[in-house]
């Protein structure tokens, strides 16, 4: 019986580490992440995280925010084309610009940890290792494309689709 109680205590200890009670490092990550959100994400996803109907998706309890962390980091790194997110029959038409070149692994980890613990969300932290893994095979360029395209004469005839 004593052995079983020790095992039970061990399981409860392990269990608590899966719960929403965050270790102290995460609190700091959330505070840093809020700054990244304000500077980079708020313009589109808004201060309340509910986005803009038909244009910029909400961040409250969606499957993208609460789901796989590497996939979520990929969204921030690579961006999204307009219309890729559909919720309840509504397409969100604006593209999400890639932030892979603009934000560091730590900033991406922090902002995602902030989002996953704000706006009614409660989920585990995203760490730099998650973001590093997501950068492998990233589709967006690693740096902002600064080169001007070669100037071409404007076609007179309309382009066929």
């Amino acid at each position: 019986m004593k052995n079983i109680l020790i095992i039970a205590a061990f399981f409860f200890f392990v269990t608590s580490s899966f719960s929403a009670i965050q270790p102290p490092g995460v609190k700091a990550s959330i505070e840093r992440g809020k700054k990244v959100y304000t500077a980079t994400c708020l313009a589109c996803h808004q201060a309340d995280g509910l986005g803009v109907e038909r244009m910029n998706p909400p961040l409250e309890k969606t499957k993208w925010v609460l789901g796989n962390k590497k996939a979520l980091a990929k969204i921030v790194i690579n961006g999204l084309k307009g219309g890729e997110i559909e919720i309840d029959g509504d397409n969100f038409h604006n593209p999400m610009p890639p932030q892979g070149a603009q934000l560091t692994d730590l900033q991406i980890a922090d902002v995602l940890t902030y989002v996953r613990n704000n706006f009614g969300n409660k989920a585990s932290a995203v760490i730099e290792a998650d973001v590093k893994a997501a950068r492998i095979n990233a589709t967006a360029p690693a740096t902002v494309v600064k080169k001007q395209p070669v100037k071409t004469p404007v076609k007179k005839a309309p382009i066929k689709q």
């Binding site: 019986m1 079983i4 109680l5 095992i7 039970a8 399981f11 409860f12 269990t15 608590s16 899966f18 719960s19 929403a20 708020l42 313009a43 589109c44 808004q46 201060a47 309340d48 509910l50 803009v52 109907e53 038909r54 909400p58 409250e60 309890k61 969606t62 499957k63 609460l66 789901g67 084309k81 307009g82 219309g83 919720i87 309840d88 029959g89 509504d90 038409h93 604006n94 593209p95 610009p97 890639p98 603009q102 996953r116 409660k122 989920a123 585990s124 902002v144 494309v145 600064k146 001007q148 395209p149 100037k151 071409t152 404007v154 076609k155 005839a157 309309p158 382009i159 066929k160 689709q161």
Partner: protein
Amino acid sequence: MNRLKCFSILSACIISMAGSATASDTSNLVKPRTAAADAVITLPAGFSSIKMLGNLGRARHIAVAPNGDVFVKLDKLKDGKGIYQLHDSNGDGKPDQVTGFGKYKGTGIAIKNGFLYASSNTEVFRYKMDPKTGKVNEASVQKIVTGLWDKQQHESKSLTLDNEGNIYVNIGAPSNDCQVQDRVKGSPGQDPCPLLDSAGGIWQFKADKLNQTYATGTRYATGLRNVVGLDWNNEVNDLYVMQHGRDMLFQFYPEMYDQKAGAENPAEEMFRIKKGSDCGWPYCYFDNDKNAKLLNPEYGGDRSKAGRCEEKTKSILQFPGHLAPNGLLFYTGSKFPAKYKNGAFIAFHGSWNRSPEPQAGYYVVFVPFKDGIPSGKWEIFADGFAGADINRAAYKPCGLAQDAEGSLYISDDSKGTIWKINYNGK
């Protein structure tokens, strides 16, 4: 007994561990919240409103048949239908027959010469309609335009018709300011902007020819980022459009536009369009603080240079930034006081890109016109659509229409509300 106790303790631990380990599972996803709270519409003295109905969902543009039936184009199918017809048989202002048809979502709708015109985000259709009864012959549907770009951003194919058998369709540019990488801070503008061949303008087609495409239509106006609200002014026989101005001046160029300047700029502009008008997008924007049409920073602008913008078509009216003009209607009725005749109502859907400043808009304004030119300052006509929290609006005005008697109709695309505005005063 001991073994049972141990087993049940262990099971409880495993179950609780499994439960917490899936704390971020999405099986209990909550549907996205829409704005709570209602809002009361306010109008000038002598005017009153009736809420006809409030549950059509994404109600975009509207048109009223000669018999008074209201037609609504939906951007999200309701019960599988994309056009709704509202019929009021007992004259109490509220429809008692609500019927849907058409299986495509979209924005544009208009009624002209016995036909109902409606658009998806790539095509334009028309249906024969009996003006006396409002009955639409669904089987008569004709596809008059096809193949238009729908790249999601700025997808609305808003439309209007002139008096010579032509239809005008907005093809919004799938871009903010034609950057190499759309909406990426630091990405330069493409010069020339290759999107303008197929978007960023108004295309003209014949109202009665089948299967017209880019090749058989005409680019009537260019340099317009996205025009959701447009109307043919029958008094002077010209096309008037409302442009949605570009976003992100503050976010991308904080050294030139502070937070407040980013909220107030660029202007939302009204243009009077002639064939061949070039309104300047993406190279140009209207700066409300400098009261001038200037070069966009993506094209070398420094908030004072006009450059090539001096040669572009100037707007005839400018409004505060990001208000999102989704509806334009030249009022031709006689029911409202005389000052409203031939003037313009504009439905401002409301801003989002003013963040972190408070949002603005969510009202319908009126501008008096004389001989096709604004003859006085614009004023707010219908207000209060946002409700208690302007940063999370209850209603978002989108479409405008008038009936043969001269009542005004307003639609909202957040919930799908239609209001009928009457004048009862002296």
